[in-house]
Amino acid sequence: MLLLGANPFFRWSYVTSQWGQIQADLVQHIELTLLAVAIGTVIAIPLAVLAWRFRIVRTPVFGVASALYIIPSLALFAVLGGVIPGGYVPPHSWFTAEVALVGYTLLILIWNTVAGLNAVPSDAREAATALGYSPTAALMRVDLPLALPYIFAGLRVATSTVIGLVTVTALIGLGGLGQQITYGFNIGYNTPIIVGLVLSIILAAIADLLWVGAQRLAVPWSRTSRRARQGS
């Protein structure tokens, strides 16, 4: 690019001189993401199972999850930060950030888990019943394992969504790589923004590869679950 003078498109020496800070931001980005996806999974899967089993649960679960998904991330951070005492600045803004980030993972994860459970062939379920499995055993040993390709597809989308959203938490004093982005913006300097941008993309790509690897280990019987993976 044709940017000359004080603000070159990219200045490598920034990366080498600021590496300590970049590393710290990267670690915070990973921590915020991991925590959100982990908590989201722990909440979403049982809710999805309930929504799948009991029709009465389905409407409220999807309603709340959809509403959470529609609310703008920045607005959600703002509202939660106001509700949680001291929630606009660290360390309490960690809580603000996580509640919002977890909220975003819920719809994706619940939706996919229910779709996966719905896609379990009825033959497999009947076979489980015929073998004398209790409903719980059938759920744990037949339904959920067969739904795994869909659940993994959801985890992939949820993870990349969260990695993108974490940057916005820079406005409540966190942000991981978002810190680089706001720093670059505040001083009108390209390099930190590009560092934040590129590292976010790399992080998302690595996370995606890790999920693909995990899926191969967890679902060895379906090496390619293309149907569950095609883009939305």
Binding site: I70, A78, G82, I108, S160, I172, I181, I193, G231
Partner: protein, 239 residues
């Protein structure tokens, strides 16, 4: 005064309903930005999706590329554009916001258009050709109407995301409802932030609702009862 009282007071104070920082003006500016973005994304993503879906070539590559694009943080794109002198001076942050948000809106529209085009029954396409329709006629009279509900599903997803994310435009000096949210955050004025968030939520809800009606209107009548279930299934598979 309790929080709800203060919020009520903010919403009912006439000072907040007029002027360049009043609710109507900022609401309108956000709606305007979002509409321009979604229309641009529809033109770019929609036509790419139609071409790829019609020819059936290169589609998977495009869909995967579109998915990878999701990992690009909008905040980074927005700020990077906003500090380029040639862009930042254009229309008070509008140009930077327009470009950055369009990049956000293209992937869902492109993917849904592509999927919608591929969902058109091969038999239907063959039949259309067999009765002598040209490629362009097949596209216009068969594929496009059948794919329309899918395209609209993509537009709806994109529009909700854009309305929600355009609050960030205020961060790069395009004043819209995000101005309330961000100045509330800066001054730790919870009432202001929450009021802004509520207004954006209202806009997102209205947009979702009205685009739902448009989707119904563009769905060929015989498909109306079925398409809902089918596009839901497709979305589930896609996620």
């Amino acid at each position: 005064m309790s929080f709800v009282d203060r919020l009520f007071h903010w919403f009912t104070s006439s000072a907040n309903w007029s002027g360049s920082n009043g609710i109507p003006e900022l609401f309108w500016r956000q709606l305007e930005l979002s509409a321009v973005v979604v229309v641009t994304a529809l033109i770019i993503g929609g036509s790419l999706g139609v071409v790829l879906g019609h020819t059936g070539r290169g589609g998977l590559v495009a869909v995967n590329a579109a998915n990878a694009f999701r990992a690009v943080p909008t905040l980074a794109l927005l700020t990077l554009l906003a500090i380029q002198p040639s862009i930042s001076l254009k229309w008070g942050g509008f140009l930077a916001s327009w470009i950055a948000l369009t990049a956000l809106a293209i992937p869902p529209i492109l993917t849904n258009t592509f999927v919608g085009m591929r969902e058109v029954d091969a038999d239907v396409r063959e039949a259309a050709k067999a009765v002598g329709l040209t490629g362009a006629q097949v596209l216009r009279r068969v594929e496009a109407p059948l794919a329309a509900p899918f395209v609209m599903a993509g537009v709806r997803t994109a529009a909700i995301e854009v309305v929600a994310t355009s609050t960030l435009a205020a961060f790069v000096s395009y004043s819209d409802l995000g101005t309330y949210v961000i100045s509330g955050l800066d001054t730790q004025n919870t009432v202001l932030s929450v009021a802004g968030a509520l207004l954006v939520g209202i806009m997102a809800g209205l947009v979702a609702l009205s685009l739902g009606l448009v989707t119904r209107a563009v769905t060929p009548i015989p498909l109306r009862s079925r398409v809902g279930a089918r596009s839901r299934a497709a979305r589930a598979a896609a996620r």
